[in-house]
């Protein structure tokens, strides 16, 4: 769908050369400084922040390119340049063709106007002619499922209805270059599925050049042939999407381990305090990342100031947004010693930890024989799961991998 087919002139549709964008730090500049700048006079150098720093790349017609990076990496600033909203501090941006930005869903809706009026207003704002919209209006209404409410002022819509209308308008836009800035699915489940399909369709529609900005690496990997990795305004990597996404996974790992203690949640009676947590792989080496499907061994070292009889110790994992993946309790072990005052090491090993790549955190709790909580801890330590081989071929939209067999 997205082979690099140069057009008749063999020219790229987007050419960015040594693009640098610096914003001045600080509050408002004085009226006099502004006036001087506008008149083209020299002004004193202020402290600057480079949102983009010497970025160069070019994109051929028909390419579907993902743009990934952490918050503040410069993705939005880059898109603003491609849309022509802002001008470079230095360098150049050449865009050959009409650009349609799929902006935040519903950003341009005006409450006083009816749904139908908003379709026209937003359509022309997004660069369509009135005739274009005339041709599409029925489809937009149908897609948004708002036929009965289309003459009602948008301010009386529920937020879900507004989002549906916004999404339907935004994705109906026809242009040579589509810029998709994380248009998330909106509405209820049935509509979300429609949104996904629509996005897929848009991204795969032949001949269109698409720039796709997302934090959802799996989506980028699946939909894009190529990806750009931005970091602190610099273009770190410009390669196939799988290479770029893998590299970003690895970078996230570093950040994740730097963040381990930030959100730690501990509730303790004081009888037990945590000394350390280790993650190790198959061969017993201490690691901070494992491959998806590899074995995982978590070792917890803690000290106890009291005797806890018939304890049950729980070691589990969860995602950064507190979806609890798994947990093992020592209560299932027939033989378990009491915890006596002193330092203890316990470990829990999972032969295969088959979750999708991402950051995971460890929780650890201790209950006594009466099921009284002695120590409850979450987000105690983090580790990274990196893609196993062949990750690209695997299905999206899953959390864990349960082995299965096909007969085709």
């Amino acid at each position: 769908m997205s082979e690099r087919t140069p057009d008749a002139n063999g020219q790229p549709v987007i050419e960015v050369k040594n693009l640098t964008k610096a914003y001045r730090l600080g509050v408002l500049e004085s009226f006099r400084t502004t006036a001087k700048r506008l008149l083209g006079r020299a002004v004193d150098k202020q402290r600057q922040f480079k949102a983009l720093d010497d970025v160069s790349f070019s994109i051929q017609p028909g390419e579907v390119v993902g743009i990934v990076g952490h918050n503040g990496a410069g993705k939005s600033t880059l898109l603003k340049h491609l849309c022509g909203i802002t001008t470079p501090t230095s360098g150049s941006v050449t865009v050959r063709g009409r650009v349609a930005p799929l902006i935040e869903v519903g950003a341009g809706l005006i409450g006083e106007l009816s749904g139908l009026e908003n379709i026209y207003l937003n359509g022309v704002i997004l660069g369509q002619s009135k005739a274009d919209i005339d041709a599409k209006v029925d489809e937009i209404i149908e897609f948004s499922e708002l036929a009965d409410f289309i003459d009602t002022p948008v301010k009386r819509y529920s937020s879900g209805m507004q989002a549906r209308l916004g999404f339907a308008i935004a994705t109906s836009i026809d242009a040579d270059i589509l810029i998709v800035d994380e248009v998330l699915s909106v509405g209820d489940l049935a509509f979300q599925r429609k949104c996904f399909e629509r996005m897929d369709q848009l991204l795969r529609r032949g001949g269109k050049t698409v720039l796709f900005v997302s934090h959802n690496l799996r989506q980028v990997e699946r939909l894009c042939s190529r990806a750009l990795l931005l970091d602190h305004g610099k273009l770190l990597l410009d390669d196939t999407s799988s290479v770029v996404c893998e590299s970003l996974f690895e970078r996230m790992q570093g950040i994740a381990s730097a963040r381990t203690t930030v959100n730690t949640r501990i509730e303790s009676t004081g009888e037990i305090s945590l000394c350390g947590i280790e993650v190790s792989s198959d061969d017993g080496r201490l690691v901070d990342s494992i491959r998806s499907g590899q074995s995982l061994k978590v070792t917890v070292e803690f000290s106890s100031s009291a005797t806890i009889e018939q304890p049950s110790i729980i070691i589990g994992t969860h995602t950064p947004d507190y979806i609890y993946i798994n947990a093992g309790s020592s209560a299932t072990e027939a033989e378990r010693p009491d915890i006596v005052p002193g330092v203890h090491r316990v470990s829990y090993e999972i032969p295969a930890f088959p979750v999708i790549p991402g950051v995971y955190l460890i929780r650890f709790s201790v209950y006594d024989g009466n099921h009284r909580p002695v120590f409850l801890g979450e987000s105690l330590s983090s580790f990274m799961v990196t893609p196993s081989s062949g990750e690209i071929q695997k299905a999206g939209m899953r959390l864990i991998e349960i082995p299965g067999r096909w007969s085709l």
Partner: protein, 272 residues
Amino acid sequence: MSSSPRNYQNYSDLLWVLVWKNVTLRYKQSRLGLMWLILRPLMLVGIFMVVRGFVGIDSGQVPYALLTYCAMVPWTFFQEAATDGVGSVVGHANLIKKIYFPRVIFPLASLLTKAVELIVGLAILALMMLWFRWVPGWQALWVVPILLYTMLVALTISLAGAALNVFSRDLSQGVPLLLGLVMYLSPVMYPLALVQRALLEHQAAGPSSSFLYTLYTMNPMVGVISSMQRCLLEDVPPDWAVLLPGAAMVAVLLPLSYLFFKRAEAYFADVI
């Protein structure tokens, strides 16, 4: 960005849809609706008539109410178009930050919105003339070029004003205040003939009288208002000597104002 003819079509559609939006929004959920358009000028005319009861303003043969309302129509148009235009870019900050199209569309849309409302003002003026049985002659056709010229006057202020307002919101506060004062420096409440009599015939300000008169006519709205009254009410062509100083001002300032806007445009999204 490419600027194919197709783009121009889209931009002009955008312009007209914005005008339609402005007009519609102003009267949605308002009971008096279009009445608001004529209420303000009519009330001002009423106040002028009361004031005239004390100070005595000679309006010649023309009924005073008709003379002032005839001045009020272009003045209101100009004042509102300029004020609205100055606030137009900042008022669409959410679009400026998200989507590219020529920013000059915003002040233009403001201007055209007021031009649509002007039609209502003109209709009331026609009704008033009917009431006073004041029949216009062929010279009334001058009204069209005069009103087009008024648009240029309003743009002179709104282009530079809208751009400056992005950097400093003081403009959207200051401009309406200033224009409210300039109204008294324009022959709205009183006929131009009174100024001419005082400064040209009686040399009321001594040797500098002629100079003061030229200064007075450098306000382009002096020429606009006087021409409206002459063409509609007196059936004589515009007085070019009155129009000229103001037109010279516009001819110099409008291109500068536009260039300034174009220059500042690039910074809108970063600063707004």
